[in-house]
């Protein structure tokens, strides 16, 4: 299956800018479907980014983050061609992870 995570990490030499887009419904548990029934909560709770075995950014998310969430951050260091590891886990225990090369 294709990864749910699309990520672009671009090094400027001194810093690396990371943009990630994840496919996920991010159902908050407050929205009703067409039949008027509550759609049960289903959202990513934790997202982490690792570079060189070290955590460079992590998120705790609630159901208030938009569907197919997007996040952008920048960290110091990071060389072109190095690996950046991204992983998430949601409230149902589902998870995904991927590794991308810094460009």
């Amino acid at each position: 299956m294709a990864s749910t995570i699309r990520v672009r990490a671009t090094s400027s030499g001194e810093t690396t800018e990371v943009q990630a887009l994840i496919q996920h419904p991010m159902d908050s548990g407050f929205v009703k479907d067409a039949k008027g029934e509550i759609i049960p909560p289903h959202f990513i709770q934790q997202l982490t980014f690792e570079y060189n075995g070290k955590n460079v950014f992590s998120a705790d998310w609630g159901g208030g983050v938009s569907k197919d969430p997007y996040v952008k951050f920048t960290f110091k260091g990071g060389k072109k061609g190095d690996d950046l590891k991204i992983s998430w886990i949601d409230n149902k225990g589902q998870s995904d992870a991927t590794t991308t090369k810094i460009q």
Partner: protein, 161 residues
Amino acid sequence: MTDVGFTATRRLILQGAGAVALVGLGNFPFGLTPALAANDKYPEEAFKAKSEADAIKALYGKTAEPSDKVKMDAPEIAENGAVVPISVTTTLADVTSISFLVSENPVVLVASYKIPAGTLPNVANRIKMAKTSNVIVVVEAGGKLYSANKEVKVTVGGCGG
């Protein structure tokens, strides 16, 4: 004749008992709370808070003071409450955490980010807003909390549709 009558009754009773047992089993899973608590790092309580003060307290155990060093970039008017782009940047030093809250959402806390040393204190993300509300950004820097807030008008809510 009497024998047949007896077994038929007994079968009916057994079927009845079976049905009751099935209904009982069917209800059982709803009585269980999800075994999510295993993840001790996720701030479960903060994501249940109904007011920003409660959420900030549950998350950091202290209160935030407004600071003009916290710069939030949010739209004046969001046409679609389901996707509101919000970003934050700060000139404060030693930032360890940045959180996003929406006062009028059913769950006030939206997202909380940990900023390790070496990661710049600026974050952009997209959040949902139920209706026109104050958006609050809290930055933890040097062990203290600083905040900025801005009202974002929502024309179509992100909840309920």
